[in-house]
């Protein structure tokens, strides 16, 4: 996920860092002002760099530009506006003005600011959808249009969601304090949850464009890495979450085959899996096994590791995967997880056992709109040699397909039902 080219997505990354640093100085109520300054800094970079090429340290160039702009804004408006309460006094005197600004834009300060911004966006007064949209907008520099595109939603709906969310946030004048906050642990798990959702939207999302989904996964990994790098936020569950992301992301290159068709786990060309990410995931998973905390991320990462470490689909330790799903269901009961468990049961004990497990899912009616439910039934019926039943399930799945790739895949399965092997 982390490519070797530091310039790739530089604007996106730096935009989040600059907004965070500026918001710390300006105060949360001046978020829009911070966003304008960032927009301006990126515009200047665009204009100057297109003529003269990129400077040796483009991040530092951008940050200095944003800092200088901030100085102008603060000098010009310090009587007209109120800025961040904790530094307003320091900005009043020329003696403390410059040092205060310099300190706010120091590399460590910025890293903290980015995290504080992340924690601020995960405000309990906001819905999870709004939290994720805000994170993408503020910390990842996604435009409303880009978020709408990623979530297959309308720009107007996203605009409304973000505007509302920003209004809620503006009522706090300062960013969330990481240190000494009583609600730190609760907020951290909400942050983890939002990053998990962001990653899942990329990994399992319905967006037909793989490029868009890879971007969401990349951003989720980048933000989870920020958590990992902070002494307070780097808890075992954070490490497990990042492990899970790495182990899933490792398989992304193989999910669509050369012809652009969906390739399911057993059929994937495992030589395309990213070994570096598998190693990163494995060492994170090992490091996460400290303390007595067993989060859902631990279990999901362990399942992903079982897949990633198997040389072939046949060599997968399905018995262990079934056990891990049992554990996961105790932590987070969900029909989707039960379905995944049933599929693992089928791999381990045969299709008839798998079908029995699917039929035993409590609340399976909640899966009726989920294409993978009839697809799993169809697949297992097909393995049992009952082509007519399989055909029926795949036909139910077809209109549930969320994009052309899924549709093509299901059509292929329907065809497989009519030509018995």
């Amino acid at each position: 996920m982390e490519t070797g080219d530091p310039v790739e997505h530089l604007f996106r990354r730096e935009s989040g860092r600059m907004v965070a640093a500026l918001t710390r100085v300006f105060g949360f109520h001046n978020l829009a002002l911070a966003e304008d300054v960032v927009q301006d800094a990126l515009c200047r970079a665009l204009e100057v760099w297109k003529h003269h090429g990129m400077p040796d340290n483009p991040s530092a160039w951008l940050m200095t530009t944003a800092k200088n702009q901030a100085v102008d804004v603060l000098r010009r408006e310090r009587t007209a506006r109120t800025f961040a309460p904790e530094i307003t006094r320091l900005l009043e005197s020329e003696w403390t003005f410059r040092p205060t600004i310099e300190a706010a834009f120091g590399p460590h300060a910025i890293q903290d600011d980015e995290l504080r911004m992340m924690f601020s966006c995960i405000d309990p007064r906001l819905t999870e959808e709004a939290q994720v949209a805000l994170i993408l907008h503020i910390l990842c520099g996604f435009s409303v249009g880009e978020i709408a595109n990623a979530f297959l939603s309308s720009a107007a709906a996203i605009e409304k969601r973000i505007t509302r969310a920003k209004k809620v946030l503006a009522s706090a004048t300062r960013l969330f304090e990481l240190e000494g906050a009583a609600e730190f642990c609760t907020r951290l798990s909400a942050v983890q949850r939002a990053l998990y959702l962001l990653f899942n939207e990329g990994y399992h999302g319905s967006n037909p464009k793989a490029v868009v989904r890879v971007e969401l996964c990349r951003e989720a990994i980048r933000l989870a890495t920020l958590l990992r790098d902070h002494p307070l936020a780097s808890t075992p569950s954070t490490l497990a979450l990042l492990a899970l992301m790495c182990l899933h992301a490792a398989r992304m290159p193989a999910r669509v085959d050369e012809s652009g068709s969906l390739s399911l786990l057993p059929d994937q060309d495992r030589s395309q899996w990213n070994q570096q990410l598998i190693q990163d995931g494995q060492s994170l998973l090992e490091r996460s096994a400290t303390g007595d905390e067993l989060s859902e991320y631990h279990v999901e990462a362990a399942i992903a590791w079982c897949h990633a470490s198997a040389l072939t689909a046949q060599a997968t330790n399905w018995a262990q995967i079934v056990t891990l799903y049992d554990t996961l269901l105790r932590i987070r009961p969900s029909p989707v997880i039960e379905l995944n468990r049933a599929i693992a049961v089928a791999q381990h004990a045969g299709p008839e056992q798998g079908l029995t497990a699917i039929h035993a899912i409590a609340g399976c009616e909640r899966l009726y709109a989920y294409p993978f439910y009839p697809m799993a039934l169809g697949e297992l019926e097909l393995q049992c040699g009952r082509h007519a039943a399989a055909h029926q399930h795949f036909s139910i799945a077809l209109p549930l397909a969320r994009n052309p790739t899924e549709r093509r895949f299901i059509e292929g399965r329907i065809n497989a039902c009519s030509c018995p092997t």
Binding site: H9, F11, R12, L42, V48, H51, G53, S143, G145
Partner: protein, 111 residues
């Protein structure tokens, strides 16, 4: 070889996402690099600030901008080419054209 001035007009500075801006910037860098590698880029030139003054009326009238977006000169470069036809042809790859802007290609008058 003759020298030409490229004047870049309009087509920029509206609100864009970070990623979109980076992509535009990279297109420009690629295009400029291409000109440089083929020996056509005499001087990369400079971008211009959007604000400025207009002086007229024998020096009596001094006003701020404002320039119409489409006329706003965003920057310039100095190009070397065989003739006006070649200089014009080379300008057709300029990324400003994708965004509604234009390139003015002007031969530099020789002494």
């Amino acid at each position: 070889m003759s020298e030409f001035l490229y004047v870049y007009r309009g087509g920029h500075r509206e609100k864009q996402s970070a990623e979109a801006m980076q992509q535009i910037m990279q297109k420009w860098m690629t295009w400029m690099q291409g000109l440089a590698e083929k020996g056509h880029l005499k001087d990369r030139g400079h971008p211009l600030e959007p604000e400025g003054k207009l002086v007229s009326g024998g020096g009596k009238n001094i006003t701020d901008g404002p320039y119409a977006e489409k006329d706003l000169v965003g920057g310039y470069s100095l190009i070397e080419a065989k003739d006006l036809a070649q200089a014009t042809e080379l300008s057709r790859g300029c990324p400003i054209l994708e965004r509604g802007g234009l390139v003015e290609v002007r031969p530099i008058m020789r002494m």
